[in-house]
Every structure is written in C-alpha cells, then in structure tokens.
Amino acid sequence: MAARKPVRQQGSSAESGSLRRIVVGLDTNVMAREALALAARVAASVDAGLRGVFVEDENLIALSGLPFAREISFSGEVRGLDEARMLRAMQAQAETARRILERVATQAHVQWSFDVARGRPLASLASAANPEDTLIIRAHAASQREVGRAVRAATREARADVLLAARGVAVSATFAVSSPIARQGAEPSVRPLAAIDEGSSLGEACTIFAETLAQRIGAPFRRIFARGFAPSDVAAAARNAGAGLIVVNAAWLGDDDDAARLSAAAGCPILLLGGERASLKNPAKP
C-alpha cells in the first residue's frame, strides 16, 4: 500500500533544525482531516516526508462480533453489525483516507506514504513510531488518559517527537507560511515559535533546535525560561507571547496528562521532543 518513500535526510536533526518524517493517524472525520492538514503543512515547512497510518480499531472488530451489536448512524438510524461488514467498512474508509492523504500531500508538494495497522488507534501509532518520526496527535475523540499514554509511549519508549494539539486548540495558523495569499497580505500571519528552556543542557538543546526550526519556517522566535515555574505559568507566558507553537523537552513534563494540559492552556500546539533529541549533547548551532 505504501506510495513513494519519504526522503531520508542525513546528519543530526537538531543541527539542521529539521523533522524527518511526519506521522499522522488517518480517519475521515473533520478533526482527522485537520490533523492531516496540519501534518502536511509541517512536512512542507521543514521538507519532511509525510506518513499516514490508518488504524483498524480492534475495539470495533470485537464489537461487531457481539450478538447484539448495533450501529447508530449520524441520522439516528439503528443498523445491525457483523464482522465482515465492519471490515469492509474499514477498508472503504482506509481507501478514502488514502485518497485524501494523496491529494493533501500532492497539493503541499511533500512525499508521502500510507500504511494500515490494526490495534488501538493512538497506541498503535505510538508503538510503531521510531526516533526519526514526529507524531501528530490532534486530541479530540480519545480520552486524556489515552492521549497521555500515547505521548509517553512515543516520546520515551519510541524516542520520537510528538506534535500535540489539545482539544479546543486551533491549528490553522500553525506552520501556515506556504499560502501564497498569506504572502501577499500586509501582515504576517505566522505566530511566534516559543522554546521552553528549563535551564538544563536538554533545555539548551531544545532551544537551539526550536530557534533553527523557527528560522526554517520563517516564524519569529521566543525563548521562555521555565526554571522554577509551573507548566501553567509557562503556558500563560506562551499565550502572552502569542505563540503559535511551543517546543519543549518531553522529559520536562511529568504527568501523562501534562502535555495536553499545557497545549490547552497555551492555546496552541506543542512539539514534544522525544528521547532521541534529548540525548544529543551540545549541539552546534547552524
């Protein structure tokens, strides 16, 4: 099912300020499309590849085997369910998702690939991630606990990055530099990119990465010193700075739910740098 393979870039991603591959879970609902659009913009901004993964939800397959399984359509109609029908519906949905991915990626001029997995949607994405991936998570349907688990799994176990937009956070202005109309406008529509520096060497590395990334995407850069401050204070500072994206070390956040709470409080997505980047020591500035 995979299409063209993403371009593999060499060298340190912190040095180049780049994200190598953007991974996004695919679905056909509006929120998933928003996430895909965001993923495509991110990929286009940093010349990364785009990987779309459609996850066949194990829960739905299990459900369809139950004797009283029913589906209530969006119009309120109640229908019977069985496993074969559910699988057919998922295949059709996967194909639709693939077409949407292809169109969005083509319009954004990014290379793309498509995969189908089976499991729990967020958990499957997180467990399948590898260190060169940046996982896009648009928290909406999933519970906070599910999101937290997925973020932890991706950043700490798979050592990947996660770009998380909490429920209620607008993403349309993030990485919106590629629009020709926006370029014609009198005012720049790109909001600043803020890096959280908690004073450690990891924080320094994170700041350098964020500054380089800001330069690449043409966004203003803000550095927020976080030593001794609670995440809520940092979120307020980021909101005051009008940040369109916050870059932070995943390790700095403690609780599984902290990342989603920070994104929601700051009103913008948050890019959590995973263990791979955190392990880099004294990265050189480009």
């Binding site: 659009a37 739905l60 299990a62 139950l66 004797p67 029913r70 309120g76 202005a173 529509s189």
Partner: protein, 838 residues
C-alpha cells in the same frame, strides 16, 4: 420605302472630350454623393431620419450596382454625427442565476465595470483572506466551533459517562456510533469484550449488559436527532461572524466602484446585490488548498459545485456583450470599400455603429448562449452569453443581404420578431426544434432601437412584398437604385469624378482624358444604351483594376484608352471559350447558317446566349413551311409544340397570325397551315425578338420569294407590322458580324435591327470599321414591309384602290397563294364521295 444603312457614326457614340478641362483624374475631386441616385439618397435620408417603428429600409437594385459601398458611405457620414450608443453587459442575478441581468451602461463604461470587478475580487482575495486568518477572527471562529463541539461533546460525554459507569463504551464506527461492553477495573480497561469473553459471562450478566446497551442506544439515537439542528445553528453563527467581518471589508473595497457608477441606477442596484452576495459568501475568499476540494460553493448557475471544479469568482464577472467607446472614428475611410468602414465583427467608434452581418444565421443575429462540458454534463452561465449583430448594431445600423438572410433557417423570422417586439431575445435553434433539453439561461432581453437595411435585387423586394404581410410593416422604406444615368456632358464629368475617387481609394493609377472617355463608353455599352451610363460599380471597378495592372506592367504612369481597350479585350478573351466554340460550330457547318445566297422560307434570326456574366450573340436559322389549311390561318410553332418555346416566344408567333390575317385576304376565310422552327436549337427559346424574322420567313414561304442569306434579322413585331425594339442589339450584331468576318465579308452582308434600337448601338470598333469601309451594314427597320424589301430585294407591295397589292410585289404573290389555298379548300369541301355525301 428603301431603307438606308446606318452611317458608322451612329453605331458607336464616342465620348466628347471637349468638356473635360482636366488632364488626368488626379486633378479631380471625389464625388461627394451618389451620381444619378437622387431617389436613393432621398430614401436613405428619409429612412434614417424618421424614428418611427417599422421604418427600416430595403435597398434594392441589381447585383454589382455598388449598393453596399454607396449606402455605407452615406451612413458613415451621418453615423459619425450621432451619439455612441450604450454598452450592454450581462451579469449574475444572484437571486435567480438562470436569469442573468442585463446592464445598460454609458458608452465605454462596460469595460471599466468589468475591470473594476476584477480588481475588487483580487483585492478581496487578499484582504478577506488576511482578516479571516487574523488572530482575532480565528479566536472568534474557534470559540464558535468549540461551543458547537462542546455541545456535541456534552451530549456525548453525558452518554459516555453513563455508559462507562455501567461498563459500556461509546465507540465511533465508520458510519456512526456504537455501544459495546468493555473491560473495566483491570489493566485492559477500555477494551471491548471479545465475543468469546462475552459468551463466557453468566446469562444474567449478558442480559444485563444487553439491556443497558439497548437503553443507551435509544438515548444515543435521540441525541443524534438533535445534531442537524445544532449543525445548522453553528453554520448560521459562522455565517453571521463572516458577515460581520466581511461587511466592513466589502463596503470599503467597493467604495470607489460604487462612486464611479453612482449615476447609473441599474448598475448601482446591481452593485448592491454584489455587496450582499460577497458578504454572504465571504467564505469563498478563505478557501485554501487544504479545504478547497471539500467545500461546496454556489456555482454560476446556482447549483452547488465543488470549489476547484469551476472558478467560484466567475459569479462576480462582467460579460460585456457590447462595448462602445467615444474614440473618434478613423478618418479617411474609403467610401468605396465596405470592409474598412463596416466591420463584420461590429463597428465601434465615435458615433452610431454600422454593422454588416455577412453570415446572418439566427445565432449570429440574436446572439447565443454557449455551453461547456463539465463532468459529463453541458452547463452554462451568464459569461457564456455571446452577443449577436443586433446587439452590436443597436443604436445604429445593421446591414444584411436579404438573400443570405432568407437562406438561413429561422433567421428571417427571428429578425422580424426582434423588430416587432423592439427587443432582442436570445433564442436557440435547438430549442425551437425541441432537439435539446439541457439547462439553459433566460437572459434579460435588450431593448432594440436600430435601423435595419436589407440589400437585395428587385425581385426579392417584390417577392417579399407579395408573400410576407409583415415585410411591408417592418420595411416601409424602399431605396431603389437606378441601373443607369443619362449620358450627358454634365454626367460625364460626374462620372469622371467617380472614377477619380475610385482610383484614389483603390490605389489605381490616374486616368488620362482618353482613359476616362473609354471607360464612359464602356459604361454606356454595359448599359446597352448609347444615351445612358451604367451605375454598376463592380464591373467598372474591375475594369480599372485590370487596366491599372496592364498599365503598370508597361511602366505607364497613367491609364489611357489603350489600357482600357486591352483590359476589355482581355476580359472578353478570358470568357470567350463558349463563344469561340459556337462560332467554330457555324464556320465548320456543323450548325448550318448561310451567309451568302438566297433561300425561300429561310432567314437568319439572332439570339443572345447568356451564361453567368458572359453573353454573346449568335445567329440561328429560322425556317417556315406553308400549305393549304382547314379553313383557318394556323401557324404551328414547333418550339411550342415540343415545349422548347417560352410563353413570350409563343405570344410572338401568335401575333404573326394576327398580322397575316389582317394583311392578306381580309374578305375571305383563311386556309393556310404553316410551321415555324428554330433549326438546330435544342435548348429553350424565349423572347419575341425573333418574331419579325419568323414573319419574314413565313412571307417568303407564302410568296415563294427567296430571302438573301447575307442578312440577319432581329426585332419583334406587332399585329400592325411595326418592328419593335429588342434587347442585346449590340451582342446580336457582333455575333453575326463575327460569322461573316470568319467566312469573309462580301459587302452584301448586314443586320436588320428595329429603328428604335439605333440609340442603343455601342458596337465594337471592328464592326464600326467594317461599316465605314462599306463591307458590312446595319439597317434600321421600322416596318415589316421595309424588311421584306431589303431581304427579298423586291417591293413588298401596297394595296391599291382596286383592293389588290401592287402587281409583282411580294405581298401580291403571297395573297395569290393564299387565294389559291382558299379556292382549293372550297372545292375540296364540295367534293362528293361515293356514297353521295359531301
């Protein structure tokens, strides 16, 4: 009674050069008006000045008379003083897209509106997009979206909470939602029970879970029923937000445009609807690449189409159907060329438009609505409305050839309908014939105020007058072109100025006086009258162009009589094949024509053969035979019997019977049967110009007096024996002369023509020369008796006091023969048969 041959000077009227005070036509001014066409000028002045319904014009006259050029020249003079008419533009009627609005704008304003709208849309693309991407707008929009989502979430969260409390999860399926029992309180919390796990549960537990799921399903279905109304409410809130944001931007962006068109109420009103539509559809300007394909927008015809399938901003375009301007009309437009002055695509310039529709189909006249294929269907919108010549000529003059118009299906009726209704309604021929039933447009009609000038030959005018009652109502003014003008010194000078103008316009070398004189003489020959000049422009213009070519090839700086003569000879030579073949057939005796000797009951008649633009004279042998008849004077016209004779020819033959009956044996019943035939004639014959020849042949046969075959005869005759004028006299004389010339002129050869035709003689120089040398003759004949004496070299005879013709005369012999026929008839009638019956 002897008739003298005509002197050479009466055979050709040379142009008198003495009134010409110029050396070349370069010294002469162009002719301002139409020479000899005062009646046409009056009609044109009247028809174009009167602003009443139905006063359109029909310009009638022969082909090649220069009608188009003359009328165009006349119109160009008056149109330039008239006001440039309005521009007309089709635009979207937002409330009913299938009925585009037509806007009347001041001349030149159509393009300004079109450009203004393009600028407006481009401005709004930037400004609205910028505002919609602004933080302020995004926050407000996000708030609305979030409230909508929260409302949904709350509804689902409540349900989800109650479900989770009971060990059931609310799941999203590909096509809706579902409820399923899940693990809880263990490390597999949230996972749906697999069928085998569920089946392993105690029955009571299974039933409990099923009951819970069924109850929750009902609640879920009720919740989902509210969703459409929430969605609608959400969309309305977004629309109001967009509206609030867009109102100010649109108002500011349209300020200049509205000011510019504030004095045009129709445009002002339409711009008001544009503003409202822009505000309602501000979202169009926010659409970006990510969402373009997913959004449905109102299409140009009102239907919903995906963004990207068509340009959604087409609805704000302006389709300028007619664009006029006040720029001055180009000076020095040739009065002799229709094309530069009248553009088939629409004449635009200061003043009223003059449009010549060269291809007057229904759609070229009234315009059309084009369609384009899209996703397998033919669709259209107001931008695909194409103006017709009625649109472009509106406020001015439309020139159409009547014959072309009548040949086009539905076009004549459509033109009349437009003139009668005084408005242009775009009609599709396919719809008329119920050939298509695709979605189409009903554009607003455009008020029509113009003069239509139809061009055609006279027969068309009279045919339309008789056959179409509406024609007279709609084309009340006839501008009838004179075919000829009098050949007088004054007109010769006017003609010279006409030639001067033509030469200048066509970049032809000037003519010297001899050249002018020769063209005038040629114009006289074309008019078939030594006292008239043709008004036909085309043949004269052609002659000048060809003479110019010859003169230039000889490095001459002026066109002289020699160049004109050479050009005429070349014209004749190019079209000479048929004439040459005809002469050859006679000289090789395949067609039998005697030009010497004498013969009873046989005469050379003359006819003109016309094939297209070529015509030439040719002799034909006419023979007559007589015998005793059955108590009447019956002349059998063999041509008529076999349907080769036309009605006029038959009439001429019947007249002969009248003449014979009145001339011979007035007291005794006639007993003669005669037959007449054009020998070796296999085509149709019509006209009565051979009737005098036929009469000579009859009299010769009757009197048994031979006719000299060196003569040929033309002329019609009446019952009184008077010879009447005929047409084509020059061609006929030259046709017989050519035969005699080829066989060798004997000095006894000549042609008898009606005396009334003498004024028409404009013969070729070689004929004139032969007459001058006395080797050929042309005799003007007034009566049959004169002709009889010439042809039979014997007195015709007059009836004396004794009631008898002169002794020994032709008529005496004829009457004696007729008397013998009558006597024989009487005796034959009294004969008794074997049974004693008479």
């Amino acid at each position: 009674m002897a008739v003298d041959p005509l002197p050479a000077q009466l055979l050709y009227r040379a142009c008198d050069l003495s009134p010409f005070e110029f050396e070349t036509t370069a010294e002469l001014e162009d002719l301002a008006g139409l020479a000899g066409q005062e009646r046409v000028l009056d009609a044109l002045r009247f028809g174009t000045s009167i602003r009443r319904h139905g006063y359109n014009l029909f310009v009638l006259g022969p082909d090649g008379a220069g009608k188009h050029e003359a009328v165009t020249r006349f119109l160009a003079d008056i149109a330039i003083r008239e006001r440039a008419p309005s521009d007309w533009a089709y635009v979207m009627r937002f409330s009913a897209p299938n009925r585009p609005v037509v806007l009347e704008l001041a001349a030149g304003a159509g393009t300004a509106l079109k450009e203004g709208m393009v600028r407006l849309v481009e401005d709004l693309k930037i400004t609205i997009h910028g505002v919609l991407e602004s933080e302020e707008y995004q926050n407000r929009r996000q708030t609305i979206d979030e409230e909508y989502r929260e409302r949904q979430e709350q509804a689902f969260e409540g349900l989800r909470g109650r479900a989770e409390e009971q060990g059931v999860a609310l799941l999203r399926t590909p096509a809706g939602f579902a409820l399923a029992p899940v693990h809880h309180g263990d490390d597999r919390q949230g996972e749906v029970l697999k069928p085998e796990e569920f089946n392993a549960l105690p029955e009571a537990e299974r039933k409990r879970l099923e009951g819970i799921v069924q109850t929750l399903q009902k609640e879920l279905a009720e919740t989902l029923e509210h969703m459409p109304s929430w969605e609608k409410e959400h969309r309305e809130r977004v629309r109001l937000l967009n509206r609030e944001v867009a109102e100010r931007i649109v108002e500011r962006a349209m300020r200049d445009l509205r000011q510019r068109f504030d004095t045009m109420p129709v445009v002002r009103d339409w711009l008001g609807t544009v503003a409202a539509d822009l505000i309602d559809n501000a979202g169009l300007f926010a659409a970006n690449a990510d969402t373009a394909q997913q959004q449905m927008v109102p299409g140009p015809s009102g239907q919903l189409v995906p963004i990207g399938a068509i340009n959604p901003f087409r609805r704000y375009e302006v389709n300028v159907a007619v664009a006029n301007n006040d720029a001055p009309r180009k000076p020095a437009v040739s009065p002799w060329k229709a094309e530069p002055a009248v553009d088939a695509g629409g004449y635009i310039g200061g003043g009223a438009p003059i449009v010549y529709e060269d291809h007057p189909t229904l759609q070229n006249l009234v315009g059309r609505v084009e369609h384009v294929p899209q996703m397998g269907a033919l669709i259209t919108d107001f931008t695909l409305i194409k103006a017709g010549s009625l649109h472009r000529a509106n406020g001015g003059y439309l020139l159409v050839d009547a014959l072309k118009l009548l040949r086009e299906p539905l076009a004549w009726e459509a033109l009349k309908r437009a003139l009668r209704r005084r408005k242009i309604v775009i009609e599709s021929p396919a719809e008329f014939m119920s050939m298509v039933s695709t979605v189409t447009l009903e554009p607003d009609p455009i008020p029509l105020d113009l003069k239509v000038l139809l061009f055609g030959e006279r027969y068309l005018y009279y045919m339309l007058s008789n056959a179409d009652p509406e024609f007279g109502e709609l084309f009340k003014v006839a501008a009838d072109f004179e075919d000829v003008l009098d050949r007088e010194s004054e007109n010769d000078l006017l003609y010279a100025r006409f030639l001067a103008g033509l030469a200048r316009a066509e970049d032809i070398l000037p003519l010297d006086r001899s050249g002018v004189a020769r063209v005038i003489e040629r114009a006289s020959r074309l008019a078939e009258d030594a006292e008239k000049l043709t008004t036909a422009v085309r043949p004269i213009a052609d002659l000048l162009r060809e003479a110019d070519f010859i003169a230039r090839s000889k490095d001459a700086s002026l066109i002289t009589a020699f160049h004109i003569d050479t050009a005429v000879e070349a014209q004749v030579a190019r079209a000479d094949r048929m004439r040459e073949r005809s002469l050859e057939m006679i000289t090789r005796d395949i067609i039998m024509i005697d030009t010497e000797g004498e013969c009873v009951g046989q005469v050379n008649g003359l006819s003109v053969l016309s094939m297209g633009a070529v015509s030439f004279g040719r002799p034909s042998r006419i023979t007559a035979r007589v015998r005793m008849g059955l108590g009447s004077a019956r002349v059998l016209d063999i041509e008529r019997e076999v349907d080769l004779g036309g009605p006029i020819h038959s009439k001429g033959v019947l007249i002969l019977s009248g003449y014979l009956s009145a001339t011979f044996l007035p007291e005794i019943p006639f007993s003669m049967s005669a037959s007449l035939v054009f020998e070796q004639s296999y085509g149709g014959i019509d006209g009565d110009s051979a009737s005098s020849a036929e009469l000579y042949a009859l009299i010769s046969a009757l009197a048994e007096v031979p006719i000299a075959q060196g003569f040929a005869v033309t002329g019609s005759v009446n019952q009184l024996g008077e010879v009447q004028a005929i047409g084509g006299v020059n061609d006929k004389i030259e046709g017989f002369f050519d035969i005699c010339m080829r066989r060798g002129l004997t000095g006894d050869q000549g042609v008898l023509i009606p005396a009334a035709n003498v004024k028409h003689l404009m013969l070729r120089q070689d004929v004139v020369d032969a007459v001058e040398r006395g080797v050929f003759a042309v005799y003007p004949v007034e009566t049959i008796e004169e002709g009889v004496e010439l042809l039979m070299d014997m007195p015709a005879g007059t009836r004396g006091p004794d009631g008898k013709f002169t002794e020994g005369s032709v008529y005496a012999k004829a009457e004696a023969r007729l008397a013998a026929f009558a006597d024989n008839q009487r005796r034959f009638a009294q004969r008794v048969d074997d049974n004693g019956k008479r």
